[in-house]
Amino acid sequence: MKTFTYRTADDVSGGLEPGATFLAGGTNLVDLMKLGVATPDVLVDVTRLGLDQIGDLPGGGLRIGAGVRNSDLAADHRVRRDYPVLSQALLAGASGQLRNMATTAGNLLQRTRCRYFMDATMPCNKHAPGSGCPAREGDHRNLAILGASPSCVATHPSDMAVALAALDAEVRISGPAGERTVPVTELHRLPGDAPERDTVLEHGELITAVDLPPLDLAARSAYRKVRDRASYAFAVGSVAAALQVTDGTVRDVRLAFGAVAHKPWRAHRAEEALRGRPATRESFRAAADAELAAAEPLRDNAFKVTLIRNLVGSVLEGLS
């Protein structure tokens, strides 16, 4: 590991010297530092900023502090009651030990598990811009089927982020240029020709909280994840959904897919295709197809298209 200096952040206004990085639970950053993929000069610890509260928003909804540990968020009774999809997504991720350290902001900003990205000796446009993308011809079984680019086909690995994307969550940010709020669906970028940038955050911008707006249909919501073993493994594909059905007709729906793109994939096309339609297996499949029509699978990951289609069907049937 490259050497660095360590300090705690003074306040929640953000800002970082060149070469500095925020440190939260460390479960991703320390790992990447050991691998030589992350090489910060300065670590600025944000876990003492008091951003570890979950509060009620005045008009309904919840404000989740950036530093709330994943295990505390998953156990919160308001989250379990009003946004079960979020609790389920968190519990589907990592392990009990890791969730005790991992934070809301750190989870959102965790980096791809693409094996070439995590190997500092390999070329990779994400860790060494311009060096190429070995995954496109190499091991890409778990990489993107939607929104990828010639320069990068990585997926975002977070489960939590998929639930937040379905729930219309907003990310509160403070930095040198002041405060701003970004929908979680616009926090992560598509790779385009700058895959080294995962998100729209500028250097020194600190995430302070994630706001969950009130959303009645979220009380009937669920997360389903497929992986290569029963537990303690990243998703091969996942679906977060919330559904409201009256008299057999879909009144409203939220859908997002995980492990299919460089960002948690909010399935707006599928949602549009479903509103006002009968709540049947055929409509669910047709809605999934409407979204997946844009899929451009690689040699070894076409199975994900079928996987997501089937997941959408089974999750929505379970909710209807």
């Binding site: 440190l23 460390g26 320390v30 005790n100 029963a230 537990s231």
Partner: protein, 154 residues
């Protein structure tokens, strides 16, 4: 810096890169916590930090100024007897991590924390899911499950 481990305060001088696991093993001589993968993937390094189970291989020791750490050397819990009774191990390499993890897990379950399985009781399926952050290369899982179940009073 000062570290409180198993109720005893220690003063250590550390490079900021030192993980808690390396501080325990190489600087304090507490070799109970094991280094399996060093990347959060196996659970052999599990210790209790302010009572919560964590992977000590991913924690930088400099971040821990006011925390109390409990390692397997400081654990005194019924689950230890139960592991002996049920032969919950073969080579024993994963065992300190399994025990620390079980202690933390039983506390989480007692607080009513949910798991991905979603059973209201601490069934065997719940125990397996909640303990999935601890791998055992010897595959001693079938004997650990009843040990943990009985330690939970079931």
């Amino acid at each position: 810096m000062d570290l409180v481990v198993n109720g005893t305060e220690h003063s250590v001088e550390l490079d900021p890169r030192t993980t808690l696991l390396d501080a325990l093993r190489d600087h304090l001589g507490l070799t109970g916590a094991k280094k399996g993968c060093d990347h959060g993937q196996c659970g052999a390094c599990t210790v209790l930090l302010d009572g919560r189970r964590v992977n000590s291989c991913l924690i930088l020791t400099v971040t821990l100024s006011e925390s109390e750490i409990t390692t397997i050397e400081g654990v005194d819990h019924p689950v230890q007897e139960k592991f002996l009774e049920h032969d919950g191990f073969q080579c024993g390499y994963c065992t300190p991590g399994q025990i620390c993890s079980a202690v933390g897990m039983l506390d989480e379950a007692a607080k009513g924390w949910p798991s991905a399985v979603g059973d209201p009781e601490l069934t065997d399926a719940e125990i397996r899911e909640r303990m999935s952050g601890n791998l055992c290369r010897c595959g001693a899982y079938p004997n650990m499950v009843p040990a943990i179940r009985e330690a939970a009073g079931r």
